[in-house]
Each structure stands twice: as C-alpha cells, then as structure tokens.
Symmetry: C2
Subunit: 413 residues, 2 copies
Amino acid sequence: MAIVVQKFGGTSVADAEKIRRAAERVIKAVKNGYQVIVVASARGKQTDKLIADALELNPDPPKREMDQLLSTGEQQTVSLFAMALDALGCDAISFTGSQIRMITDNAYTKARIKSIDAERIHKQLDKGRIVLVAGFQGVDEDGNITTLGRGGSDTTAVALAAALGAEECEIFTDVDGIHAADPRICKGAVKLDQISYDEILEMASLGAGVMHPRAVEFGKKYDVKIHVRSSSREKHGTIITHEVPQMEDIVVSGATIQKDLAKIDLVGVDNKPGNAAKIFASLASAKVVVSDIVQTEVGPEKANVSFIIGISDLSVAKQAVERIKAELNCNTIFVRDDIAEVSVVGVGMRTHYGVAEKMFGALAEANINIDSITTSEIRISCVVDKKQADKALQAVSAAFELDKLPERRAKKD
Amino acid sequence: MAIVVQKFGGTSVADAEKIRRAAERVIKAVKNGYQVIVVASARGKQTDKLIADALELNPDPPKREMDQLLSTGEQQTVSLFAMALDALGCDAISFTGSQIRMITDNAYTKARIKSIDAERIHKQLDKGRIVLVAGFQGVDEDGNITTLGRGGSDTTAVALAAALGAEECEIFTDVDGIHAADPRICKGAVKLDQISYDEILEMASLGAGVMHPRAVEFGKKYDVKIHVRSSSREKHGTIITHEVPQMEDIVVSGATIQKDLAKIDLVGVDNKPGNAAKIFASLASAKVVVSDIVQTEVGPEKANVSFIIGISDLSVAKQAVERIKAELNCNTIFVRDDIAEVSVVGVGMRTHYGVAEKMFGALAEANINIDSITTSEIRISCVVDKKQADKALQAVSAAFELDKLPERRAKKD
C-alpha cells in the first residue's frame, strides 16, 4: 500500500474547526487507498505564547529547557488531531518525536535528524491506523527532547516521507502553491506546476518563504516528491522534485524580491592576502550572515569590498567592520539600508543565453538603476533602490512572461 | 546529603511571579543543605483548558490521546520552572515522566506507578543540580504516555520521595496545613501539627480534600513523611506520618462535613441470599461509588437497604435500582438529596470510650436529628439534614474542643 505524508502548519490547525477540516483531508487520502502519516505544527500562536512565557522568566533561557517547553505545542496538536479523527470514525494514534525515536544530535533549538524508527510507524499503519507525528521535534541519544528550529515541521514531514518511502509528501499551506513571482506584487503571476529542489532552494533563500530550505535539502538528498498545496482547496499545487529534462526548456522559473537587506562597502582596503578573510572572520564572529560578496581592484594595491546582509544585522555588522577598519587601512565605509534585491531563478539558465541581458534590459527600460549584480549557476540578482523594488519585480516578471504558463511563452533559442 | 521532594500545585505556579516565588522556596532548601527534587502540576487552569479543547473535538476522546494531551501541561511547568531557577543562578534540569522512566501500567487517565529510574535522578542531584519532574504522568512499558488521575502530582511527589529515600515530601498549598475542622465553618479550628496516614485517609475520603488519598496510601505503604504546608508562608504545616503512640492520646483529631451526598432507601426488599449483591452489582455496572451501606430486617423475610452516594450520581443510581426493583420485590424506593454527613476521625477512638455518646449528645443538644449512623474503627459518621450541616459540624467541633490544641483539651478516661 502506498504511503503519503501530509503536513499541516500552525494556521491549518489553529482551532477546532480547522483541525476538523484537516482531518477530513486526511480521511480523503485514506479513502483513496493511502496509508497516511500526518505531521502537524503547534496550533496558531501557541509557540509564540510559550516563548513569551519563557522570556518572562528568563531573558536567556537554557536551550534544553526551551526545547522541552516548545515541543509541547506540537504534542498537543497531534493528540487533538487524533481525537478529531476518532470522532470521525477513524482509528488514529499520535506520537511525539521521542516515541517514534526521531533521533537527533543534541544541538538544542536547531537539532539535526540522525535516524527514525520507521518500524514502529509501519506497524501502526499496517494495523489500519492513521499515524500522527508531532512535528519540529526529536530526541537525542540520552532522551533529551530537541527541536529542529524554524520550519522544523516541514523537515519532520520530509524526513518521515524519506524514511518510510512515501509516494509523496504533501505540505498544506494557505496558498495554492508556489508562484513564479509574488502574486501580491505581480498580479497574474502563474502558479508553478513543478519546480526543482535547486530552484526552490535559490528562491527560498531569496525570500519566497514557502518551504524551509532545510526541508528542501532533505528532500533533494533522499529524492522525496514534495507537493505544496492549499489546505482549503482541492486542486493540484506545486511539486518540488529533482530536475527533469523538460525543466530546462523553462529559462526562468521564478522571480523574487528581497527588501529586508542592507549593503556595506569598504572603500580602499589594502589589497593584500588575508584582508578579505579578516573582514569575514570579524563578521562571522558577530554571527552576521553575509551574501553577495564583491571585491574589485581600484588603483595600485587597493580594493573595494562590498557585501549584502540582513537589515536586522546592520548595526552589529557595522561595529564588526569598524573594529578592523584601521587594520585594513580602509579609507571609508559606506552603508546603504535602502536597497532591495531582485532575482530570477531557473535551471534552464545553464543551457540558455541572454537571460542576464534581458533582465538588465527590462530594468533599464523601467528606468531602474542597478547598483550591483551577482550570479550563481541558476540565478541572477540585481541590487536596486528599495523604492523601486516592486516596480523592478514587475518589470522582470513581464520580461520573462511569468504571467503565462511556460509552454505559452515566446520560444527562446 | 539529605534529599527533599517539594511539590507545587497548579495555583502555586499559575503565573511567572508565582513560579519565581516557588523557585525561591526551592533555593532556600538548597541553601539549607538539601538535594531538591521539585514536582509541579500544570499551571492554573491549563488542564481545564486542554480538556475543553479536547471535548470540542470529541465528546468522548480516546483515553490514550487524552493522556498524550494533558501531560503537556506539567511538562510546560517544569521547563519554565527550570528557566526561573537558571535565571536565579541555579543549575536545574527538568524531566517528563517518560524521561525518568516513571513506569506505570497502561490504565490511561488513572495509571498506577510500577517503578521509577531513581539512578537517573541521583546522577543529576549528585552533579549539584535541582531536578524538576513533571507531575501527574508516567509512561507504560511500550512508551505510551499515561496520567495518574486527579491528584496525580501528589502521588508523583510521594512516589519520588519513596524511591529516592527522601527525608520529607513537602506539599505546598494555599492553606497553612490541615485543620481539625474546616476553618471557614468552624472559626478557630486548630491546625494539626501531625496526623496519621489512616486518619487523613478517613478525612480525605470524607471530603477534607487536602491530599489525594492515593498519594497518602503510597506514603503509608513506603513510610514517607509528608509535610503539607503553605506556599506563601514559612511556618510549619501538618506532618502526615505513621501512627505514633502519643497520637492515641488524642481521641478525635478532626471533624468533617460532606454536603454533596444523596441517600437511597429500598424499602421492603425480599430478604434472601443474593439480593444485596444484585443491588450493588447493578450500581457498580453503572459506575456508581457507594458508601455507608445499611441493611435492617423489617418483618418476616423483608429488609430495608439504604446507602449513600455522591449527589452527581443520583439520577444514574436511581435508574440502576429502578431496573431491578421488581426483581427484588421491593415496595418503595425513597430518595433523599437533602442530606449531609458529619464525621469525627481519630486513631484514639480505638482505645477510648464515649466518643459516639458525646457526638450524638452534641447533635441532640443542638436540636439536630440523626438520620443514620455508620462507623469504622477510627471514624463515626452521622447523616443529618443538609440545612443543619454547618451547625452540626460546629456542634461536634465544640464538643471535642477542636479549637484548642490537643494538650489543652479536657482529659478523657
């Protein structure tokens, strides 16, 4: 019998009525002949409430106790979900991460999964039961409860799908699926029928925010078919899967915009070995995540170094570079907190030309100045003025016809 | 190093401020040289909230899932409590019932403790840590979470004190200790310095409601010194302990009143073998708990059978006896829902005379009619009119001088 994993996020189980609706969704899959594993998050704002309770007692709570506390949210959901299924006449059993031996390392609040006791779950499924597993949590070798960090329930679901050989891992959300561009900004942006792990990883880290990158990486590693779909509507959502040949025909799968960024420029740094390392070591020790590093030579033995950071890290990052400014013999530090980054992503870029040209052309035509450009194998990103962010996304989306289904777009060479 | 177990009920940990105050109480014991184990209940009304959430989804939720759900309340408290201790500079670690292998049978919602992994706790105590254990819960041999029923946290605390050889098990409550009579009814009723397990068991089942009978039974079985005391004040409370010789000097330790009772009289039942069994089998199958059974012969081969039940069971009990009325050849069934039962309890009754006489005299003097009387080795109970309940308790308390310390009472033979 084929297995399907269904994951319901916090908003999909926020109250009794929503849990009941989710339960009906599960029963539909059972009626379609599947053995079903349900992964659920904490209800609505429960996790936020517990965090507030903790901080009221301790501004810096011990991480082990934090995990012990937060794991209760998901445990509550799955037991309530099992009760709802029981009320609808289904045999269901709920498990905590500990009970199915979801073994992780002991990195509290951001643990990584090491193994799962698939046997215990198979045994229950084979009894005709629906199995519910509390998302977001595991247990270390010593029996301490751990949690997997933000987006952890996605990871639980994909890991279970991998461990049990599920046909599909369904991620139920409040959107229809993944769109080629944010439909709130680009009206008519099409919903993607499928997208590759690599593309969604580029899009997720660029702020599309539909799936947690770690869950996608897990899916990629174990080749789990992930189906992101609406919890309130029946229709097909977006399948995240390994790259298939026809994906290459689509040059650009999606476009994203990120507005919560800042840029730091170090002007006239001594261009000698070790200086770049110094900069990023100082930032790393301040726990600042850096992207889009650009170094350019300017005159004899001098270079400019620039990079992008999250705007919430700006003051910490500024202090970190100010500290070593003299050491680098740096003239000036420029800071911009009024930037945005527009990107296009697509595995088709590997085999198609002219993507960069078209993107820059579209921005130019819309009178948008490009501050800087960075690229990966399947992504091109341009830093622009934050005030022009939405306009930039619209221009790029229009240029790549993201409001049309891929097969209806103008043919490229 | 001596060990003490400290148990905090739901009202003592209802909010951050109260948890902090409880934590300070724990630290005081540490400073006094004790290794401390803390047992805590769910905060305030958390359990009631979870039960309401469950019933909204399922009027008759599966018991296993109910335990899975309710156990989260205590887990939250102990992790928050550990955070509070950490904030006050103490090394503390919290455990669920599962984590300390509090093994129970699998009678969900009313499981019984079979064993505890004392080693795991000793190891943590010996590291200089305060150990917090979620009350009310355990785990069966298969790893399913179980709960111990109402008053379960008391039982957890006493069981831990027994398993770890604690010097004392402190039960913190919102009263100063156990009083000889309810001070809301009998002003000036003295607080008892000590009382025996047997006496408190009689008083608890009679509605004094300070300690759960199961916890007291556990304490009696393993000879655990239980100290019931105020969570907000420092002073000595009431020690529940095995019977010591000087207790026998005290004829009556306490008096209680129970008002939530009803009485059923079956008049003119055929007095033949098996009829009494039929009545109580019918009541047992309706899950009605019965007390104070009295059977009296009335005329040739006829008997009256009466018994007391909780008033909430009245309609179910009535149906149960109506069903077999014809079979018993019973003339009439009388029901009284306007009764109360006043009782005096004391191990000294075993060796002293005149207790019954004094009690009946006190009630007569107060113009209170006695409906019926039942006794045990250390208890005398009289059923009276509910309207006279408080007056009856006051009369009895005055007669036995329960407003005076035992050593100041008039000497008895």
